[in-house]
């Protein structure tokens, strides 16, 4: 089989793929997916690997990476949205921002004029607002995730073994339904990869899930915090070398629980569909690990904030040939910290700020997020209704829900109705929302600044 999914597939890798697909306890895979890595893109991945080894990532406060101005010039000449929006700019420093709404309404305007459409791929994302968005992508983008992830693991002393007898990674989901598939990776020399749904309905026999995972023993397991917590609940004898948490905020309490359960590090990453992996959590914040991405913090209007101030995380990335990003507002918030040329996002908040009214005073979502960090909540959404009352939708153990509720009430979040989430999730929960009218609070203040 040498189709577009595997322009390279050799016999040993095919055997490895068959081993997974034909496994006696395999789930009912409902999708087919390859790495789509042809010779040219494979070389780009290897080159990226060399770049990661040889070039330090990061920049000092006030500096910019060397590639930035050239990339901005090229993009202005060839990418419709930048040609239009940045026509009068002299260099990168004068570029206006772009945002997810622009990407959602006209993804084609991000495609360079001279970029071939042969390898165009469409990733669908609903994001945390639930709005549909197509992201145009290219095989190198998802493959570079793997290259960068392997590099990050290596830096932490975790080796990802490659070869046509290996099961490199399992991506686990806990949803009512999702695509599931098995695949093999050219970059990892034929190693296998599976995407699984931990929903028992997706398996032939209830006991198959455990038998399959215990047998294939993925070296790395990735998933969102809900799925990883679901995995931890199952009676499995897994010995992963690391867990990778993506897509949602991982609370320190859950991180510790997972690490103790699987006896391995849990790596929380900052990644998005448009450009994939960019930063990895450490004890000080989200450390920037992507040499091909640049991050700034922007205020509501097109002004970068002063160093260290809080605002919207705005990225510039040349990783995705079909959606090059220049000053792209992510919809996430935080502030930058520099230690020499190590760049971190600190006080990260994955949604625009929301202000809740509690009697005569206001309380912002970040205070609440900080307060709830202590409890192992898998997922929660706090909503303030028109009448001023609150509803907390939460997925967690009963004791954790009780503690969280007490904590919220001590902050004045009252009256509070608790709705435990029991079914498997279908879509991401909006973490903070309100029916009350928001004054223009989005970026007009620093939510963690002393009063």
């Amino acid at each position: 089989m040498t189709d577009h999914r595997y322009p390279w597939l050799y016999e040993a890798a095919q055997k490895n793929l068959n081993r997974i697909l034909e496994h006696a306890n395999a789930p009912r895979f409902n999708h087919e997916c390859g790495d789509c890595l042809d010779d040219e893109d494979y070389r780009a991945c290897i080159q990226f690997e060399h770049q990661l080894r040889s070039t330090p990532v990061g920049w000092r406060k006030g500096e910019t990476p060397a590639w930035l101005n050239n990339f901005a010039d090229q993009s202005k000449a060839s990418v419709p949205i930048y040609r239009q929006k940045a026509a009068l700019t002299r260099d990168f420093s004068e570029f206006p921002t772009t945002n997810r709404q622009e990407m959602a309404s006209a993804p084609w305007s991000f495609v360079p004029d001279d970029q071939s459409l042969d390898k165009l791929m469409v990733y669908f994302t609903s994001g945390s607002t639930g709005k549909h968005m197509d992201v145009l992508s290219h095989p190198v983008v998802s493959n570079k995730f793997l290259v960068l992830m392997r590099h990050v693991l290596r830096k932490q002393g975790i080796e990802l073994d490659a070869g046509p007898d290996q099961m490199a990674m399992a991506l686990v989901c806990a949803q009512s339904s999702t695509y599931t598939y098995a695949s093999v990776s050219r970059y990892l020399k034929g190693s296998a990869f599976v995407k699984l749904n931990l929903n028992p309905k997706e398996w032939r026999q209830p006991q198959d899930m455990g038998a399959f995972l215990n047998d294939v023993q993925p070296q790395i397991i990735s998933g969102d915090p809900i799925s990883l917590a679901e995995l931890a609940r199952l009676d499995l004898k897994l010995l992963p070398r690391a867990l990778i948490s993506t897509a949602m905020t991982l609370s320190p309490a859950l991180c510790q629980q997972l690490s103790e359960r699987f006896l391995c590090p849990v790596i929380d990453v900052y990644s998005m569909n448009e450009s994939r992996l960019m930063a990895v959590a450490d004890d000080k914040g989200l450390r920037w690990v992507a040499p091909d991405c640049f991050v700034e913090i922007f205020a509501e209007h097109d002004e970068p904030v002063q160093h260290g101030e809080w605002g919207e995380i705005t990225i510039t990335s040349n990783r995705n040939p079909l959606s090059p990003l220049i000053r792209y507002r992510t919809g996430d918030f935080g502030r930058l910290s520099f230690a020499d040329s190590v760049v971190r996002i600190i006080d990260f908040q994955g949604r625009p700020p929301v202000v809740f009214r509690v009697g005569q005073r206001v309380i912002n979502n970040i205070e609440i997020a900080v307060g709830l960090r202590a409890f192992p909540l898998l997922e929660y959404g706090l909503h303030q209704q028109q009448d001023g009352g609150f509803v907390l939708k939460v997925r967690a153990e009963a004791s954790a829900i009780k503690d969280a509720s007490t904590c919220l009430q001590s902050m004045g979040i009252s009256p509070l109705k608790i709705e435990p989430l029991l079914d498997l999730p279908n879509k991401k929960l909006i973490q903070f929302s309100t029916d009350l009218k928001q004054k223009n609070v989005a970026l007009s203040y620093d939510p963690l600044a002393p009063p």
Binding site: R5, H31, E32, C33, G34, D35, C36, L37, P80, P107, W108, S109, V111, D113, L117, L120, M121, V122, Y123, F124, T125, D134, L136, S137, P139, V141, S142, N143, F145, L146, M149, M169, L171, C173, Y181, S183, S185, F193, K195, S222, G223, D224, S227, I244, T246, A247, V269, S271, M272, N273, R276, L277
Partner: protein
């Protein structure tokens, strides 16, 4: 950019173009009494005595059967240009004016010839003004009594070549969007590359 003549004076001059400068162009010199090349060469000598290189001279010679109509229109525009440039206020311009005029006639007027008929340059007031302003821009002159910005703005409003380019670029951009959307439609149904992490 130094100050040039008044646009009104040049417009008047174009309106008064003698019939000799409006004739149809014989394709080959031996077929008619008019040699555009000779008229152009005479005009260029207003500023420089250097003779035209054979390569440059080819701009005013009939070259190919495929574009007779365009060749003729281009030559007629060049004749109009020669008439215009004999206006007395141009006479004192420096020697390098010759080069600027060569450029204007061989490049800009060639493009204009694809879009605007020579007759319209004389009859139609907008095209007349476009022609005059295009000449002034080519000679690096600002119309008397106008700021540089006003002159540039006025020419932009009238510029047929720029307008045609915008239309062409818009069409190309629309074609590109259509192609990307069609490809998206096709690929949405197909599977993308394996994603190693959730976003």
């Amino acid at each position: 950019m130094s100050q040039g003549p008044d646009v009104g004076v040049l417009l008047q001059r174009l309106v008064a173009t003698p019939a000799d400068f409006l004739v149809e162009i014989p394709i080959k010199v031996e077929w008619g009494s008019l040699s555009v090349l000779a008229v152009v060469a005479d005009t260029l000598r207003l500023w420089s005595q250097a003779s035209l290189s054979p390569e440059l001279a080819n701009n005013w010679r009939y070259q190919s059967k495929q574009d007779v109509t365009q060749y003729r229109n281009h030559m007629r525009l060049c004749l109009l240009a020669c008439w215009l440039l004999h206006e007395e206020s141009f006479a004192d311009l420096p020697e390098n004016t010759s080069k600027k005029v060569q450029q204007w006639m061989s490049k800009d007027l060639k493009l204009l010839a694809e879009l605007v008929k020579a007759d319209h340059v004389v009859r139609d007031s907008d095209r007349r003004e476009e022609f005059v302003r295009s000449a002034l821009r080519a000679l690096d002159l600002r119309p008397a009594g106008e700021s540089r910005a006003l002159a540039s703005d006025r020419l932009q409003t009238l510029d047929s070549v720029a307008r045609a380019r915008v239309i062409q670029e818009t069409k190309a951009a629309q074609d590109r969007v259509r192609k990307i959307r069609a490809e998206m439609q096709k690929k949405r149904a197909a599977e993308a590359a394996a994603a190693w992490g959730r976003e």
